[in-house]
Symmetry: C2
Subunit: 331 residues, 2 copies
DNA sequence: CTGTTAGCGCTTTCAA
DNA sequence: TTGAAAGCGCTAACAG
């Protein structure tokens, strides 16, 4: 037997008070056009007086639809995601959907658990920059409509931010400035974006005959960027491309701490343009598309939900280099 | 009739396949101690084989509890909130609760709508920095357990970040540096934090016989901070305290654009320490407590949910000034 | 247009 | 320790 809750006015009580059938009360709310305007008005008036609030759960059980989606991200606090979340939220709103937020803390296992927990109470899931294996992703996708952001799994609708082109531009830009030895400061190994950026940097560097190396970090944090600085400097590089802006800021801080001035002695490029114009000196970076990605992922999911076609849509968002104040001619 | 969904194995199918009653299957999952270990094992095996996944909605309808809470913030993308959200999320997780995120876009009406929409599908709500009127807040609180962050409404459990003390310190700090004319760059008028900070600055300034004035902005954005600069400079002030760090960065940018160097010619203080150490020059600011607030609000809500006591708890988190590189002696 | 009648999938007395 | 039966609050045929 359910716990008594305040505000527990049911459809039956309204029906009785209004002298109509329960189904009519239901229709007054969900299909008013099927009722005479008078009845609708009357029912709504009575309902209001009684303080009736439709029970979402009951409705969901009956219809099989709950109007909810889940959005799972690796780290809410990483500045790349809030704008994405915000945009997704806004788009979901347009469809009258509510959104569960999941934070996997950059951990595949936790992501898996969140997915299991949330799946059962949403109509669809958006997985942003998942750290999960393809197999697990596919397993979950077989149970619930899903769209991916920044993960390329065939058969699952996805939106990819092609930062490869932007990173290639960045590499070329550095080469043009006379840099011959550059390093890529790597992000999470399970990140598709990281793999994409790393290979774009590597390939372009090879094409331009630059010395190229990678400094690894597991989590894309300011700290990680900071700690990567000794390695970076140890490689005699004159420029670094970081996995993302947060790491780039860490690198900047580390360089400053060692008295290496940017961009005079060293050039730094970030990724995602997540910090926007907030920074001084303003970071040279690769444009992000987080807002567009967030919005698109939701509208894509809505399409999937409507057509029930598991289509293999794959939207690619382009990026480009934004030159600001942290890159310069090689020393 | 509900839509057929993939993975729709029900308790009845498991019961039949296992040769037991539906109630036993239910108990195998929710009250295994009431069944013989053998039966439990058997049932679970069969369930697993069939791919049974308990239906959260049905359970919720039956028990009246859904294990969900809602967290509503004015702007997900404002760097003050992501850490708060993350912390709240983490704490909710400890209680096996899922969290809906709502973004009111700094708009009271939208906040109201979100609240209505989300209330009906959660056990409780956390309202962070609401822009809504006390009346509406109370109305919603009467329908659903609620805890407030940074809003002081008596009768509703709340956690307040007392930035007043920090701002007072900041004002004193500026006075000690010889500043005689300071301005407060105001945030959203509906924000309790803004009112608190403004009056702390005003009162302290009065006590120290400083010239004090307020430059208003409606939304706490980088842009707003930037645009406030002409006014600020027009008042011949030599220092500014901004509603938050984002606005402070805007002010910084605006000053830089006008060739006013910080902190040599002008001092700037932010609030919330939301940007952390990411910035250069590093902002002098008032410490935030967003993580603690997020965590505390959830555990408070959980208590309310358990005891059903609407208690009038009011937790106050202290703040203090963090002097970094954007304040200096008056020119 | 409106009422009647079955459920949605699960939990929970109440008996056995 | 288990089963039978009665709902939770709502929607959706199916009649009229």
């Amino acid at each position: 037997m359910p716990v008594e809750r305040k505000g527990g006015v049911t459809i039956s009580q309204v029906a009785e008070a209004a002298g109509v059938a329960r189904s009519s009360v239901s229709r007054a709310y969900t299909k008013p056009h099927m009722l005479s305007p008078d009845t609708v008005e009357h029912i709504k008036a009575v309902a209001e007086r009684l303080g009736y609030i439709p029970n979402h759960t009951a409705r969901a059980l009956s219809t099989g639809r709950n109007g909810n989606i889940a959005l799972i991200v690796p780290d809410v606090a990483n500045p790349f995601f809030p704008p994405l979340i915000r945009a997704a939220q806004g788009e979901a709103d347009r469809y009258d959907f509510c959104v569960f937020l999941g934070n996997s803390e950059e951990d595949a296992e936790k992501e898996d658990k969140l997915l299991s927990r949330l799946s059962s109470q949403v109509e669809g899931v958006i997985l942003a920059s998942p750290r999960l294996s393809d197999e697990r992703i596919l397993a979950h996708a077989s149970l619930k409509p899903m769209v991916l952001i920044n993960r390329n799994v065939e058969g699952i609708p996805r939106v990819l931010i092609d930062s490869g082109t932007g990173v290639a531009q960045a590499t070329r830009h550095l080469a043009e400035q006379g840099h011959r030895r550059i390093v890529y400061v790597s992000g999470p190994s399970a990140s598709w974006s990281n793999r994409q950026r790393r290979s774009a940097a590597r390939n372009t560097a090879a094409k331009l005959s630059l010395e190229f190396s990678v400094v690894s970090a597991s989590v894309p944090s300011f700290e990680a960027g900071l700690q990567a600085v000794p390695s970076i400097l140890g490689r005699k590089a004159t420029a670094a491309i970081a996995f993302d802006d947060v790491m780039a800021q860490g690198v900047l801080a580390g360089l400053a701490a060692r008295g290496v001035s940017v961009p005079e002695e060293f050039s730094v490029v970030g990724c995602d343009d997540a910090l926007g114009p907030l920074m001084v000196p303003v970071l040279t970076t690769v444009s992000g598309q987080s807002v567009e990605a967030g919005k698109l992922s939701v509208s894509l999911l809505m399409q999937v939900l409507q057509s029930d076609a598991l289509g293999d849509a794959c939207y690619v968002l382009e990026t480009h280099l934004i030159v600001r104040s942290t890159t310069n001619a090689a020393p």
